[in-house]
Subunit: 153 residues, 2 copies
DNA sequence: GGTGAAACCAATGTGCT
DNA sequence: AGCACATTGGTTTCACC
């Protein structure tokens, strides 16, 4: 599929809001029958538009109420050091997002923990043990204003 | 999560990795039958551990390859101004995450766009139109190192 | 590309242990 | 709490348009 038509876009918009909707229900929302919707969804999966289906959990309910944003800059910036940071940060399961950035800050991290004690422990025994960290600044989330996985199109 | 036993935790771990797994398949992974697994999943939904089920899309495939992190600080910090920022930022569909922070930076934003032109436009015609913004700093993602919705427990 | 029917199989509900 | 079985209803395929 080289290009998505309006039906495909609508299917993607629905599925990224609620993937538990049945093919039948999506079909009736689009004034189609189940078969073409079923085939389109399969195609969107196969061609990589849909990465995966997941359950989103309530972080407060599962005892990870504290979110921190952490900005990291390395001391040295040759390729080896960046790759080394990459491979070490991937092992830290508290990190939900980590982006390599352009500019003064090298990495943004989003970290979920049960409380400040666990965060302290995370920084002390895990994050700060990674080689070559120059600057490390932590910020705590007071309130989630927007937190979605949807893309607008 | 005092009320959750090891089965519940395993179910949550599976569903946040892949919610398209059938009840039967989850059951056989836990050495159980479908009925108790089905009832546990219902309970986890009803009691708010599971917020929703969604499809995660491939941002490059759907033409939103550029991610920016934006740090915003307000000029004035009385309650009215914070609420006003809150209600105005929610209307901007490019923003996938927005957190109200403790400390020097007031808000972190994650923004997805099709390219730098669209980002320029977003900042010029939408973000900078919000009242009371003091500092606005943008950073661009070079590479996603970790980008998951899973919580580790 | 879409429709509708048929076969198949998972989700769901009940009753037993 | 879990298991087994029955029913409902969604998924998937396919012949036809």
């Amino acid at each position: 599929m080289e290009r998505l038509d309006e039906y495909d876009l609508k299917i993607l918009r629905i599925l990224q809001k609620d993937s538990s909707m049945s093919t039948k229900k999506i079909a009736s929302a689009l004034n189609l029958t189940a078969s073409p919707v079923y085939e389109r969804i399969r195609k969107l999966e196969k061609e990589g538009y849909i990465k995966k289906y997941v359950a989103l959990l309530n972080k407060k309910r599962i005892n990870k109420p504290v979110t921190a944003i952490c900005m990291v800059s390395l001391r040295y910036h040759n390729e080896g050091f960046i790759d080394k940071f990459d491979s070490q940060i991937r092992k830290l399961s508290e990190v939900q997002e980590c982006y390599h950035m352009a500019g003064k800050v090298d990495f943004f991290l989003k970290i979920n923990v049960s409380g400040l004690d666990e965060y302290h422990d995370f920084v002390r025994t895990k994050l700060s043990k990674i080689d070559n960290i120059g600057v490390l600044e932590s910020y705590f989330v007071l309130k989630d204003i927007i937190d979605t996985t949807e893309f607008y199109f």
